[in-house]
Symmetry: C2
Subunit: 416 residues, 2 copies
């Protein structure tokens, strides 16, 4: 159970958010983040016992022939042609020995447990919650206790390095209402989600072997999200992800050349240019980047120099919750079928924070990259040959046209 | 009209493929590549006149207020955070002044013209064809005659470089039968498609400002292909695409370290490891790469050291047509609904060839990267947060499992 050694809540969180840790039946970490005053004050306590008869998650499993085999730790291989590490889903081959009730997920596993039902398939022990965070049941990256962490070579050939994908995958449920949209959540609930991002960043930063912590949100069936329940994820890579590596190369080269911080200078340049800035408050600036690659793309940068989510102060966390709420609402209004009602926007919200150990981290700067595949009310941008095959994005619009649409929806400025 | 100064057909093509150039009504280049003996012998000639009343493609256009404005050359901007050039679809804002018949595409523009119909919307002047290649009518990259090619700065800020996206986009129709699948085409027709790839590579390599020629095929409604007609494209970038840049960095570093060619050594290592090799003939080797990132991925490498498609000799072109045919058929058999019939596989076939001017080209090597988003008969892999936001691919399978499925479908070896 986590001891919170690395997490220090700010004044607001100390008074208004209570974190209760527990462990799921198969051994995974689970955290309630409560903003309900009855839980915060301690007047009510949380159900901590997961009633499911799950086997320990790293226990031996049965193979296709019914033989017991050790848990297969997920592996990753380095592509010699690009240098990218590719985690491979060997862990999905692990099937539970116990095929009893609760062994196979049915229904919505992110919902609260139904009262009186001890053996449901959900991941939440209690019958209600505010925000919860827990380790993914079928992670593509996980550190298996006692596993050999050394590099091996596929077929004994040094061209092909292989190592355990000893990362971590967590799920954050934003709200117990499974039909709610993140855009419709009260700012106070989003404030708790921001606290979850900061809390997990602080704690996971101290875990062995993690190099980059990536909180993100996939939203919409159009991008393959099967669970509509409002939730996000945290991928903790045991490497620096390729996009981050490229950004670090550019922020570092810029620092060497100018002494400045590229992300800060981009934010200031957008403020000076003005036309692509779509929202501002005391702590944050949101703009359509001058070289946007998606049909809808917004970057959100902190006004103050901040490297990671856990460095945000109370005011910045509140201002972020407020801006995130505006961003999601305006995203939903952006495309329109002609009835003025907008539409539930499919989007990806990707947190870029400074990596944990890489020395180039000092010249990076926290930023959120928010984008959508939607390019019209009835059209999706597909990542076809140029994007998927050559990583060469072709934009179907211009950053100024994206910003113009946001301006039409009404500007959100410091007063908000 | 092209003079073929840079294209020298081999013995086979001289006798069996005839190329007839023409110009479409709006000024675009168009080429028939005929393998029908009557056209090759000259017994029959091609219809060269495009009957559509199209305005010259770079003529002034009307803006939203009905005012005549110069043709807007497509622009590209460099993302300061990644260094990537992003072409932006300003060219799609160009609307033809003449709104007469044929000005708006309807039906299948890749079909042959209907006999007796002079004003249809298709791109092909004749009433039948074998293989045709032509410039895309609404290109995301194109060199506009007389345009100022210099770098400008967005909002006058040196962080944001902007230049004309002076590339080239071509379309290759593989066959006149609009309902045919590339997998079902005779090898002799695919041989003509290979000739088209080589021909266009040879010619476009000599055009001003092109740095990389990328023939590819998008196949399947699942990846957004709206025209089922069997066709591919050629994107000619005025820059080196991000994925190619990364591969060049790795092939060059490998050469500096070992004196060898990375792509050749990978092919030989796969041959030695054997288990992921799924097809061989005299000129080509097809294998699932040891760090495959897609649920179905096959790389095809030439046995001989070859940099670009136009360097392939006659035997290699035939052997490629044969292997491509096998690859597509086996791809369609790979996933199965349980009826043993397979399914029309959505795929991307991406040709990686040495760039045109970059000195690192000598240590690169031609290769085809073929992959699919399909991960089961009823499942698609979506590029969500990790892939789209961080360029970190998570594989849902392993290369050995992919290869195992191909082996089940029967090996294709040199004898074939």
């Amino acid at each position: 159970m986590a001891d919170f050694a690395n997490y220090t809540p700010g004044e607001y969180a100390k008074e208004h958010i209570r974190i209760t840790p527990t462990t799921l039946a198969d051994g995974r970490d689970f955290f309630y983040l409560d903003d309900d005053p009855e839980y915060v004050s301690g007047a009510k306590t949380r159900e901590l016992k997961d009633p499911r008869p799950l086997a320990y998650r790293f226990a031996p499993h049965l193979d296709a022939d019914g033989n017991e085999v050790p848990y297969a730790a997920p592996q990753m291989r380095r592509d010699p042609l690009t240098g990218d590490w590719i985690p491979m889903a060997t862990a999905r081959m692990n099937r539970p020995i116990t095929a009893g009730p609760g062994a196979t997920a049915k229904g919505n596993p992110l919902a609260a447990r139904k009262p009186g039902d001890p053996y449901q398939d959900g991941e939440v022990p209690d019958t209600d919650y505010n925000v919860v965070v827990f380790e993914n049941r079928f992670p593509s990256m996980v550190r298996v206790p006692g596993e050999d962490d050394s590099t091996k070579f596929v077929n004994g050939n040094q061209l092909w390095e292989q190592k355990p994908a000893a990362g971590r995958c967590e799920v954050i449920c934003f709200d117990p209402n499974e039909d709610g949209l993140p855009a419709d959540l009260p700012v106070s609930r989003l404030r708790t989600v921001v606290e979850a991002w900061a809390f997990r960043t602080a704690e996971i930063s101290k875990m062995d072997g993690i190099e980059q912590i990536f909180p993100f949100e996939n939203h919409g069936a159009e991008i393959g999200v099967s669970l509509a329940h409002p939730h996000g994820q945290v991928y903790c890579y045991p490497f620096i992800a390729p996009k981050m590596e490229k950004e670090l190369q550019h922020t570092e080269a810029y620092h060497e050349k100018t002494g400045g911080n590229l992300l800060k200078d981009i934010m200031n340049a957008e403020l000076e240019a003005e036309e692509r800035v779509i929202m501002r408050n005391h702590s944050w600036v949101a703009y359509v980047p001058a070289a946007a690659r998606w049909p809808l793309e917004v970057h959100v940068a902190p006004v103050r120099d901040v490297l990671t989510l856990d460095q945000l102060n109370d005011d910045e966390r509140w201002d972020l919750a407020s801006m995130y709420s505006h961003l999601l609402k305006r995203g939903n209004a952006f495309f329109d079928k002609g009835d003025g009602k907008g539409m539930d926007l499919p989007y990806i919200a990707a947190w870029h924070q400074a990596p944990i150990h890489d020395p180039r981290r000092e010249n990076y700067r926290l930023n959120l990259q928010f984008f959508s595949f939607r390019r019209a009310a009835n059209k999706i941008k597909y990542l076809a040959g140029s994007e998927s095959g050559m990583a060469a994005w072709i934009s179907d619009t211009t950053p100024e046209l994206i910003a113009k649409r946001f301006h039409e929806l009404g500007d959100v400025d410091i007063a908000d």
